[in-house]
Amino acid sequence: MASISLKKLNKSYGALTVVHDIDLEIADKEFIILVGPSGCGKSTTLRMIAGLEEISNGELIIGGDMVNEVPSKDRDIAMVFQNYALYPHMTVYKNMAFGLQLRKASRDTIDQKVQEAAKILDITHLLNRKPKALSGGQRQRVALGRAMVRNPAVFLLDEPLSNLDAKLRSTMRAEITKLHKRLDATFIYVTHDQIEAMTMADRIVVMKDGHIQQVDTPQNLYDRPVNMFVAGFIGAPQMNLLPSTIERRGDGYAALFDGRELPLPAHFDKSRIEPYVGRELVIGVRPENLHELPPADITPENLAPFDAVVELAEPMGSEIHLNLTAGGRNLIARVSPRFKAMIDDGVKLVVDTTNMQLFDKETERSILY
């Protein structure tokens, strides 16, 4: 049992507080990812859980026991670092065995565990090689293996894929996800890469400036961001945020952006929108909700024409990212690779407002959730 509770967890360096009153419940065997920009406190939080950073305030509870004062080695956790932190003078086998040796495990136990982990990670052929001969991906596997042999209740992974190239990173993402399912342990993973977060996590914790912004499943974070930071951070290309005003239109409402009228879907909670009538707010439109043609599966009342000027077209193979300007704002649209657009051309797109987001301009919080 390795559920983890962070209760009002704080980290301060003198007068500077880098992690503020973090409350978080992590279930046993959950794969949770802390994500956020550099300096948001995600690694510090992880290191506090690991016992590598002293907790300034608050409680850290692992498996029902408060472990604030428990040394790192006694917390039944294993950590994988960004730079792998392998001992260069030891073979892969010895790197993996070292932790067990320190725990005075028997030679047979060490050998069995190292062999098992090596088999799972497909690094058996590397066991008697030194790290200097290994590629980044192989080193990463060894670092994972070193954590695995200890059979910890909790795995802490601090940006483990950051040093890998894009292709290998994609492969390793899948490997780590499979590993989590196989090991049935709690994984806490830190990354600044939102693709990693979206593809691997059961739940994502979005952090900024030492505060938790939102904790939710990847899809919920994407569909229902609680503030503009989360909306902009989750999703690539990021959500288009456009200052608008709200007006009544018959029974419903419409957002007005630089003379363009975007009808708000009927399923939006009217009581939440009503106070904003006549006021400025920020609407959020995902790039995939800007279409070159009206999609057949969207009801016409949730569609609105949208004129823009093409600044740049980035062909991605399966789609084109159109960098647009409209009303002095920059936007991005994901359109079909068959769509032909020249730079400085005016294009007529269609906005699907079904999943549009509305944010308070002052507080930057969503007014929908």
Binding site: A97, Q115, A118, H125, P131, L134, S135
Partner: protein
């Protein structure tokens, strides 16, 4: 210190899983390039283990044990494995060492006598040839026996039979290894004093590694065909089977 850190953390080329395994001299060179520092340390251990003279056979066998592990590309904890092998094989190694020292000594004595006789009477060339052949064969048997001893626990008679069988089936690799050992010492002599550190750093361990490398395949062959193949393999031997 940045350069030092970079040297340690710089990524390597990677090791292909399905790359064809090198064989023969290429494999020998690859293992040496990878393990030369372990061999230097092993050489020092051997010298330390041999200081009391009576412990020379045990030190030789312990060195053979480590060499076999290196050949099999298995994990080795040098000091621990050496001292354990030294203690484990001490009695057996000493007895076999005495027996082979006596046999080889007898052979050398016979060679000396017959060689002196052959100068005056060519009829002595025949026993001289036989003496040389038998002495060399005893040394080849000793090489196989030593490697077999550290690869599998078995009764003395069976060990001797398998060593003799291996020496009859494939004596050439063992002879090549012995030639390599001779060349190492020859090099040390002709390059002296430039080569003054060779015996202290590599000659014993590299020589033993060459013997283990040369003899290992034949040893595995005879172990496979012998009834002793059912006997448990040495501890940790199973990790070599994965490579």
């Amino acid at each position: 210190m940045q350069w030092l850190r970079d040297m340690w953390t710089k990524e390597g080329p990677g090791i292909a899983k399905n790359a064809p395994k090198k064989t023969g001299l290429a494999l020998f060179a690859e293992i040496f390039a990878r393990e030369w520092w372990e061999m230097v340390k092993l050489n020092i251990l051997f010298i330390l283990g041999s200081l009391l003279v009576v412990t020379i056979p045990a030190a030789i066998v312990a060195t053979a044990r480590i060499s076999v592990v290196l050949v099999e590309d298995r994990n080795v904890y040098l000091l621990r494995d050496f001292t354990e092998a030294f203690a484990k094989y001490f009695v057996r190694a000493t007895l076999w060492g005495l027996a082979f020292a006596w046999a080889v000594g007898l052979g050398m004595y016979a060679i000396t006598i017959y060689a002196a006789g052959a100068r005056d009477n060519l009829l002595f060339a025949a026993p001289l040839t036989i003496a040389v052949f038998v002495t060399v064969f005893i040394v080849v048997i000793a090489c196989h026996l030593m490697v077999l001893m550290v690869m599998r626990d078995m009764p003395a008679l069976q060990l001797l039979q398998l060593a003799a069988m291996a020496s009859l089936i494939r004596p050439m690799p063992a002879l090549a290894a012995l030639l390599f050992v001779a060349a190492l010492w020859f090099l040390h002599i002709i390059l002296y004093p430039l080569s003054v550190f060779m015996p202290a750093t590599l000659n014993f361990s590299l020589g033993m590694f060459a013997v283990a490398f040369g003899v290992h395949r034949t040893a595995e062959m005879v172990l496979t065909v012998s009834p002793a193949s059912g006997v448990h393999r040495e501890q940790h031997a199973h990790d070599a089977s994965h490579t």
